[in-house]
Amino acid sequence: MDMILIPAVNMAPILPEILLSVLAMILLLINVFSPGGQKSSLAYISFLGIIAAGVLVAIGWGVHIESFSGSVVLDNFATFFKMTFLVAAGLAVLISDSYMEREGCNQGELYPLILFTVVGMMLMASGTDLMTIFLGLEVMSVSLYVLAGFNRANKKSNEAGLKYFLLGAFSTGFLLYGMALIYGATGTTRLYKIAAIVGQMTVPSSNIMLVAGMLLMMTGFAFKIAAAPFHMWTPDVYEGAPTPMTAFMSAGPKAAGFAALLRLFLVALPTLQVEWSQVLWVLAVLTMTVGNITALRQDNIKRILAYSSIAHAGYALVGFAAGNGTGTAGILFYMLSYAFMNIGAFAIIILVSKKGETNGNVSDFAGLGFKHPLLALAMTLFLFSLAGVPPAAGFIGKFYLFSGAIQKGYIWLAVIGVLNSAASVYYYLRIMVYMYFKESTEEFEWVKVTAPVALALVIAAAGTLIPGIVPSVILEYAQMAVKLM
């Protein structure tokens, strides 16, 4: 009698994912069966869950386990990114509660959705098969669509959800088509195998199906990381989505997109590096420039940060285009510090804005500097870090990204990058101009810093400043993560 062979599956690599999924489902149940009101407890539970997952992830540092027949891997690269996602999610959870309370949309589903997103992102980071990567991507995306439109009563939120969904699904189509072509060209969906097969091709770059597949996949991920010209959704969705979710979206999924794309290109398609480097070179320039230049004329602060987030994707792409150790380590470092600084900045935006997301213009920050000096100081730190001014983490990140490009010989790319960076200073400074240099028209009496938000801010500030002064604490890990991949 034939036995049905169930392959031995090592669940260890996806323990954090399992933990979070289970927790998410439990939370959903709690939410259903708990009386209305006390939603804050859900936030605390999910925060604890995230910490627990973080511990699990941390334990996995240094191990290299493949599982699910080689479609999932646990390595330092995945671990580093998973940590990044958890940081983003943790901070997002901390700043969500009071915001949702204020906006009156404190549905308990929020936290499970965040957790599912994280699960999806983690799968993207550790997936070594096109299928797992796709699944991770979709788990993340579907949850994000909901999160973007989470504030059902808010028209902007609706619109954000709608746009994100339509365009996201559209981009998925390209991604899948690309995967299909790769599959057709190589006959497999395992990244290692793809690499092996492509490596045997005499001139892989002349294989149109392969190149087209690569480009279409890149399109799909470029959408996620908001690279021009696939970035158009970003400002609208970031503006419309509930602010904590915007913060989360700008940090987590972007990192996840980079994680998947890095693994895809560096593991499966290193032989096509010349091709994808060229494309990324152009994309990087476009993305940085479009993001920064457009941001100059924005007034809505969320929109400014949305464009800024596009620009930051561009900086990361500079490192990616270089494709060397320095550049990719730079991406890892940058994504983590970006999570700290950007979510930190959004946290302050949440505090300063009023119900219904009014008060979201730059001018509404006028005089904050002397009414709430600590908040303003934190904001200043985040903004300087975003602008890439030392001694903040953002500077070190950019330093490594641009160094990668220079090491690779892309001097002009680096030059365009730094010029962009200089232009970007303008709109970051503009916010500071309002905070410090303009007289306040408001007393900011509605600004209340609850304990979770304060915690989030402290973590974010520490995460922005400390790696700026002693970058080794993170950089060393980023280096290892890239090396062992």
């Binding site: 500097g369 300087f384 001014v389 030392p390 490594y400 090491q407 200073v425 101009v433 410090y436 280096q479």
Partner: protein, 552 residues
């Protein structure tokens, strides 16, 4: 006291921590504490001065690992030599004065102001002592932040424009420098250099094309900071809007970053390229001298006038530095210090009358000498120091610069630059006359009070330094001399390298080459054509040129 440098640099940061515990409203305490901190910093920095050995080596070196990740190794590598020594002392010397000047000038947000001042001090000191290129860059950028806030928060009417312009302008330059810095590192890595330590890069042999690009990137960043024509327009704006202490520090120390950058980094790192571009830079410097003087002459706002005069003065510094000989660079270094003292003093003076009258328009004044004799005296001394009257500090620097530049290939530039001496007298005396002389006819000016004790206290050290450096600059020159000699030697080796090639190829220098030209009426046989007229070093035997006229 091996870590006295670090102590000096980070004492102000400790001061900031101290300030955080002082309530916002006790302004007096805030001021006094800040003053005390800066004084202590100054005193500690005197330990550096006394412990400094007069030689060309870097001293008080601290070198500990800092960042090591990927291809990069950055170290906390600091130390000073005769060149940076005086700039460090200048910084610690100016700071208490700047703090003291704010006692009545700044009434709002005192705590923040003091924090900015102290942070600025750390930033500036850090930049002067860094021997690690990366560390230098960090401090270089960090300085911008407090200055930005000082202009933006406590500035005048157009403060936002000025502050943002200041920040972005400087940032553009320094970011390009960053690219060059990284590129240089990778070049160095190929040659076996292991970290960002500056000194190893001096031995790096780079090909000309690379040098040129890197030099241009560095030079651009520093030229903005200096500021050199035509990259100077941020300066008048920044100065006019900045509060007095800000202007003082900006003029006295921050601008020195640019010139210091040339001396410490751009020139010794890329000596051949520096030689190649010396005529260009000298041209810009000379244009700056004349141009800024002419523009200063017609200014209506005293502060703007002083700002433009800074451009002119720093043009002199640049000219001296690019003479590439001991006299020129010594003059340049002295002039940096002199400019710090004199122009700092000028900004203080402008601050004094601005505090009293809340205007800086020249036409609003006139005849103040009658009402404010002490002020008049002080103003006059500083004016003449700025004009470069012999006996004051300004002269020594300017003279050595011009002398050095005249000896070098920049002879014609020097002659034009020297005419700046006339123009500086024109605009400084003209403004002095319009402010201090004439009828005291504006009723608002008739009740002005003369300088009070605090203000006199502020000015006295500056005036003492004006005369001390003017009459006995020896200690200053002696301490910096070995370091400068070393620099000159570095550069000279390079110049021989660059010059050797064209000389071998073409026995004749093209006509019109500045190196080969003589003043009018001078027989051109004095020097063999093509001989680099940098100066015939004293170590060589006297130039074996027989002068046909001598025997006549």
């Amino acid at each position: 006291m091996s870590n006295v440098l670090s102590l000096t640099t980070f004492l102000p940061i400790l001061g900031v921590l101290l300030l955080l515990f002082i309530p916002k409203d006790s302004k007096g305490v805030l001021r006094n504490v800040t003053f005390a901190v800066t004084i202590v910093t100054f005193l500690v920095s005197l330990l550096i001065l006394t412990g400094f050995q007069t030689n060309a080596e870097f001293q008080f070196v601290e070198n500990v690992p800092w960042i090591a990740a990927g291809p990069f190794i950055m170290r906390y590598n600091i130390g000073i030599d005769g060149i940076s020594l005086w700039l460090v002392i200048l910084t610690t010397f100016i700071m208490p004065i700047a703090v003291l000047s704010t006692y009545t000038a700044v009434e709002e947000k005192v705590k923040e102001y003091m924090v900015c001042l102290l942070l600025l001090e750390t930033g500036m000191l850090g930049a002067f002592i860094s021997l690690d290129l990366f560390l230098f860059y960090i401090f270089w950028e960090v300085m911008l932040i407090p200055m930005y806030f000082m202009i933006g928060i406590w500035g005048g009417k157009n403060k936002i424009y000025a502050a943002v312009k200041f920040f972005i302008y400087t940032m553009v330059g320094s970011l390009l420098m960053l690219v060059a810095l990284i590129f240089l590192y990778f070049k160095g890595m190929q040659a076996g250099i292991t970290d960002f330590g500056l000194l190893q890069f001096f031995d790096l042999k780079l090909d000309m094309a690379t040098q040129i690009w890197l030099f241009l990137a560095f030079a651009f960043a520093f030229a903005i900071k200096v500021p050199m024509f035509p990259l100077h327009t941020w300066l008048p704006d920044a100065h006019t809007e900045a509060p007095t202490a800000g202007s003082v520090i900006l003029a006295a120390v921050l601008l020195k970053m640019g010139t210091y950058g040339y001396v410490r980094f751009a020139i010794p790192l890329f000596p051949e390229a520096a030689h190649k571009f010396a005529p260009v830079i000298a041209t810009l410097a000379v244009i700056g001298i004349i141009y800024a003087a002419l523009v200063a002459m017609v200014q209506e706002d005293v502060k703007k006038l002083v700002a433009y005069s800074s451009v002119a003065h720093l043009g002199f510094v640049m000219l001296g530095v690019f003479a590439f000989n001991t006299e020129g660079i010594t003059g340049g270094m002295l002039q940096m210090i002199n400019h710090g003292i004199s122009t700092g003093a000028l900004f203080l003076i402008v601050g004094f009358i601005y505090e009293r009258r809340h205007t800086r328009l020249i036409t609003d004044f006139g005849g103040l000498s009658k009402q404010m004799p002490i002020f008049a005296t002080v103003f006059m001394i500083v004016t003449f120091s700025s004009v470069g009257l012999p006996g004051t500090n300004g002269f020594v620097g300017e003279f050595l610069i011009l002398l050095g530049a005249f000896e070098s290939q920049l002879r014609w530039w020097t002659i034009v630059a020297t005419s700046g001496v006339i123009l500086s007298a024109v605009y400084m005396l003209w403004v002095f006359q319009r402010v201090m002389f004439g009828e005291l006819d504006n009723p608002k000016n008739q009740k002005l009070l003369d300088l009070n004790a605090r203000e006199i206290t502020i000015m006295v050290p500056l005036i003492v330094m004006i005369f001390f450096m003017g009459l006995y600059p020896k200690p200053f020159i002696d301490k910096m001399d070995p370091a400068i000699k070393k620099l000159v030697a570095q550069v000279r080796v390079a110049s021989v390298n660059t010059m050797a090639i064209p000389c071998a190829d073409q026995s004749q220098m093209p006509a019109g080459h500045p190196g080969g030209e003589m003043p009018p009426g001078h027989p051109s046989v004095n020097m063999p054509a093509g001989h680099p007229v940098i100066e015939s070093p004293s170590t060589q035997p006297a130039a074996p040129v027989a002068n046909p006229h001598a025997e006549k």
